[in-house]
Symmetry: C2
DNA sequence: GTAACTGCAAAATATTTGCATCCTT
DNA sequence: AAGGATGCAAATATTTTGCAGTTAC
């Protein structure tokens, strides 16, 4: 528990470098999704911008984090649940974007409902993003 | 029918300029979504890059097109259905991204299923993006 | 010791802003 | 004629690439 980030890196056979530990810790201590810019800010630019890009890409490749599509030319990243694996994400839960605090939250327990597609369309992955007001900002 | 784009501009009290007509025509003749880069390419750079940015923004503001979130640092745009209005989109249909042809298609008839959120979350808008193989590429 | 990772520099790309000119109404 | 839209130039911001030096194992 003291070093969940180290466990995660070990489990994925990734070397335990400062940037990987630092960025992974940030995700572990953040309730919600982070954009590249958030990470730079919250790590006080401790790591080179390029390193952050490459680290995020690595984590995505290994299935440690997943990407959340947005409509504003950024990509949000959030920790995957334990059953994600490299190349095969099981992150089919709903993401919630709050219009007030602008945080994006993974609703891990809300799975994406099935949807019936027209004949001939074969789905392989479904993303669902709900905008609205979150439980913290509702008042 | 000859000039649906003109109708649309008129309906929204937008001046009928070359770029607006041209870009709107492109959308009307495209079955699917377009990114900024697609528009530049398909209009053979007839309009300044900046004009394309501003035109797209205007169309979004007026509810003529809507944005589709993506996970690759681009924004896709697609025509809204007739019942969209400025500031109040009703584009809650499913978007389908084909892994083979990479086209994004609006499944206008597939409405986004309801999802039950945890207590305290108030949804205002829902987006659903399905990846897979489209009807054209399925073979 | 070696392979992999990092940081710096720089290139490539993408987006925004200001302003003078042109076009629509 | 007047307001708004466009195009150009330039400023900003973002992302990628190459490479030399450093670190993890």
């Amino acid at each position: 528990m003291i070093a969940k980030s180290l466990d995660l890196l070990k489990k994925n056979n990734l070397s335990k470098t400062e940037s990987r530990k630092g960025i992974l810790d940030l995700f572990l201590h953040t309730n919600g999704a982070l954009a590249h810019a958030d990470i730079e800010k919250k790590t006080a630019a401790a790591f080179d911008r390029v390193t952050v890009y490459r680290t995020l890409q690595t984590f995505v490749d290994y299935g440690i984090i997943h990407q959340i599509p947005t409509t504003d030319n950024t990509i949000l990243y959030a920790l995957c649940k334990d059953d994600c694996e490299a190349g095969h994400h099981h992150d089919e839960h709903v993401h919630f974007v709050c219009n007030k605090c602008e945080n994006t939250i993974c609703l891990d327990d809300v799975i994406v409902p099935k949807v019936k597609l027209p004949k001939g369309f074969q789905p392989s992955q479904v993303a669902m993003v709900v905008r609205g007001v979150c439980v913290v900002c509702k008042n």
